[in-house]
Symmetry: C2
């Protein structure tokens, strides 16, 4: 018989197990890389048996892919939210960029391991999950590109900026500054880091200030 013990989209127990596996995998892979991390390690850290990993995910690669989707989904939602709230409050496009910079920093602060792992894999070639990686990357970068384009359309940004390259550069600015912050100056506050990046974003570097 169809037991139907938990009709609403998968049992709670299973979802909890998957979450534990995500959390175990993300830190281990961030530290060691995908290949150097064994399924046994992931299972052990998650506190489940190895078979459970394969009960919940078709393979180690699939676990990783779903982890990527899950994580970037959170980031993209956060960036959109930041941009939309700024718009709602009548802020300029620079304000929107600034809010997104902060949202990015908050995300990296909350999920540093995921960020490390993502950066480490993003530009590799010939990997099984490359298409997944590109899709989720595009989702996130598109939010930044959108704000830049709107800014150009509204005359707030120079029409001569290269939207794609500028978006990539902004993402890189935040990414590397934040990872450096985490790795080498963890005592600094998020506001400190945000202030430094705002200054750079708004071109307030040159001049006596």
């Amino acid at each position: 018989m169809e037991s139907s013990s938990a009709r609403s989209g998968g049992s709670t127990r299973r979802e909890a197990t998957r979450q534990k596996l995500y959390e175990a995998a993300v830190t281990l892979i961030a530290e060691q890389g995908f290949s150097a991390t064994t399924v046994d390690e992931i299972a052990e850290r998650a506190g489940v048996a190895k078979g459970t990993v394969y009960y919940n995910f078709a393979s180690k690669s699939v676990l990783f892919e779903e982890l990527l989707r899950h994580g970037v989904g959170l980031l993209t939602a956060s960036l959109k939210e930041a941009a939309e709230e700024t718009a709602r409050e009548g802020g300029s496009k620079v304000d929107a960029l600034d809010a997104m910079v902060r949202a990015g920093l908050v995300f990296i602060d909350r999920y540093p391991a995921f960020t490390q792992l993502y950066v480490a894999e993003l530009w590799r070639t010939n990997r099984a999950w490359q298409s997944t990686l590109m899709v989720v990357r595009q989702e996130a970068v598109a939010v930044v590109e959108g704000v830049l384009r709107e800014g150009v359309a509204a005359g707030e940004f120079s029409a001569e900026i290269d939207v794609q390259l500028t978006a990539a550069a902004l993402v890189g600015m935040v990414l590397v500054a934040a990872l450096d912050w985490q790795s080498f100056q963890p005592e600094r506050s998020l506001d400190d880091v945000h202030a430094a990046l705002s200054r750079l974003l708004q071109g307030r570097v040159s001049g006596k200030g």
Copy 2:
């Protein structure tokens, strides 16, 4: 006899073999990661026997570490050269930064695989070669920090900029923009990319332009 022909370190033949191994390892590891790359693969791509790898390097890790040192050494030299030439020509510190941005782009354009590999490893923790990684990172970033500090001292940059964070952000800007360029818009010219980054660096984004 230790003939005059090879003062710096070892025979020419041996050095050539090591160079071939570097080149083979750098592309393979950039594509697949360190752990997923086998010594047999490296030897095969380099066109030497496996025994030769172990005759020239104590282990796979040591080969990788020396590769890191070698590569970042080239980058650091190139950055210094760019900064010094700008100074020699009487350029401003912004000019020096701009020249270093270009030098970074040229480097990434010439050694994309090395750059990928380096970025993928830089923020990992608990790895055998972590101290090597940090040392060489610091050598490179210090060049940027130095120019920023001189700019502050000379009153060209605001005294309120955070040198460390700004340097990291600038490096990130170039790194990510360049890797994106390589990966997703390889048809663009170096000058194009450089122009986009210059604009951002000099705060010529806002405004009708």
